[in-house]
Amino acid sequence: MNKVKIKIENLYKIFGPKAENYIQVVRDGTDKDELLAKYNHVLGLDNINLDIYDQSIQVVMGLSGSGKSTLIRHINRLIEPTEGVVLVDDQDVTRFDKNELLDFRRTRTGMVFQRFGLFPHQNIIENVKLGLSIKGVDKSESNETAMYWIDKVGLNGFEFKFPNQLSGGMQQRVGLARALATDPDILLMDEAFSALDPLIRSDMQDQLLDLQKNLKKTIVFITHDLDEALKLGDSIAILNGGKLVQNGKPEDILLNPADDYVEKFVQDVNRAKVLKVKSIMNKKNQPNDAPKINMNDSIESCLPTILETRATLSVVDDDNNIIGSISDKEVASILRSN
């Protein structure tokens, strides 16, 4: 396991003119609806504790109004917390002074927005250069860096177009290139792919995973789409009404939902497609003579073989060592509980 990159401790956010006065009320168990009805203040985040590991993709999921966009904005302090601590590499972001904060945003974090947030009056290369020019990097160097990232996201030849001349997917590639151009170690993605149509969205997800293989950034990814969360997340945190209700690996969320809210979220998911063989395999039985299947394959992909042969398959790791088995029994139990 990597070390903890971002540590969020006892984070509260209450929106309203007298937010501080209501911390205690919230601590005593007042929930979002009650706080609004009784005190006319909006509860954004309610005692969030979350460890985000270095070089991992942490997905934060929830319905709209659950506080996920509020949470991500605390990491680069676009929103001031009412109380609590956000540690990045053991430095408390909430205690930064003005210049430290600007410096932190310029060098340590990059952000990608749902509606792209590109500058409509600047062309693509200028947009990608934004972070660099704010930092004061000289022109030839920033041009070179910008061109590298424009190339990386596949927008070669579009560098002198304006944002509204590009499609949504292309605009978000610009957004991604802009965020990566300053080489931050943390990438904040706020519903970055939610405004894109399904095919483009899937492409962008693949591209992000592909980039991440080499970049190894710490990515915080906000989404309301479970399929996206399951595809991207090393870990998935689920928010409801400002509270963190569960944080865990995708298969934990699917197999052991913490409460009704999470269960409702996951009930329509095709588990056979999302779950990997390794999460349901029988570790005790390690047959040598059975057909082999990789532990990272989806259950769905081994279904035809199991149905055809009615046999037990042996599960192998990436080095082809047999580490367990999977048979119709395990598959059936997973499909039945769906």
Binding site: N76, L78, L102, D103, F104, R105, R106, T107, T109, G110, M111, F113, Q114, R115, F116, G117, L118, F119, P120, H121, N123, L130, G131, I134, K135, K161, F162, P163, N164, Q165, R178, T182, L188
Partner: protein, 298 residues
Amino acid sequence: MNIPEFLTVFPKMGKVDYLAFKKTVDGAFRQFSRAYGDSIESFFDPVLFFLVNLEKLLQNTPWPIVIMVFLLLIYYGSRSIYLTIGSLAAFLFIAYFGMWQDTMSTVSIIGVCTLLAIGLGIPIGILMSGSDRVRSAVVPILDIMQTMPSFVYLIPVVMLLGIGKIPGLLAIIVYAIPPMIRLTDLGIREVDKEVLEAADAFGANRMQKLFRVQLPLALPTIFAGINQTIMMALAMVVIASMIGVRGLGQPVLKAISNQYLTMGLLNGFAIVVLAVIFDRVSQSFGKRLQQHRAGSRE
């Protein structure tokens, strides 16, 4: 029925009190104007110097050169050959009917007023857009500036500075600057919040946000403000002429008091022509700025 007197006649201030009140205020202001009139006048000297010399330059340069320069500016601003030809016809008409000198006076005072209005209005608009408190203080002042009859605020100005170009210039600016301020404020406030948040997220400081995001994106709206300011300044030309500003307003004034219909019409027509040229040029320049900046989907 017998109605008590205090219900039918408002218990107004006594005549003696009113006289004393008037005397105190007038006296105080007269004293103030005697004490500070000269220094206030000298404060405006640079503006006056600039205005006088611009007027001289326009009037003393041979007319074909002035017309050529104007036509070049009009073409550069509007990129419209029709507007340029139309303007040429209008200038020849104005000159033929002997209104050239007055027109140059008017152009110079409108030019100076517009520059001052831009120079003062944009910073005020920026301050306003940044703070709701400043805004709620400035808006009522702008309302007063636009609705108070010009003559009322001209009284103290004339008492202070006498009649002449500077009081006229002040009267025009007071009337013409509000749209500049309002539209700068509006333009900056209308900038997309997500774009601004993006600038924040990448660590832009206040000045970087202002010059890279807010002003460029507000520019089309600011240009609409400049256009409005020019139009309102032209509308004040006749009133300004009453306190001694030379230009197309003076013959109009003369025409009213003497019932010279032709003279009134001709000079009025010249003002309209100037207004149309200023309007079309500044509008199409603003529009082009917008198109070029935003690009268009192909």
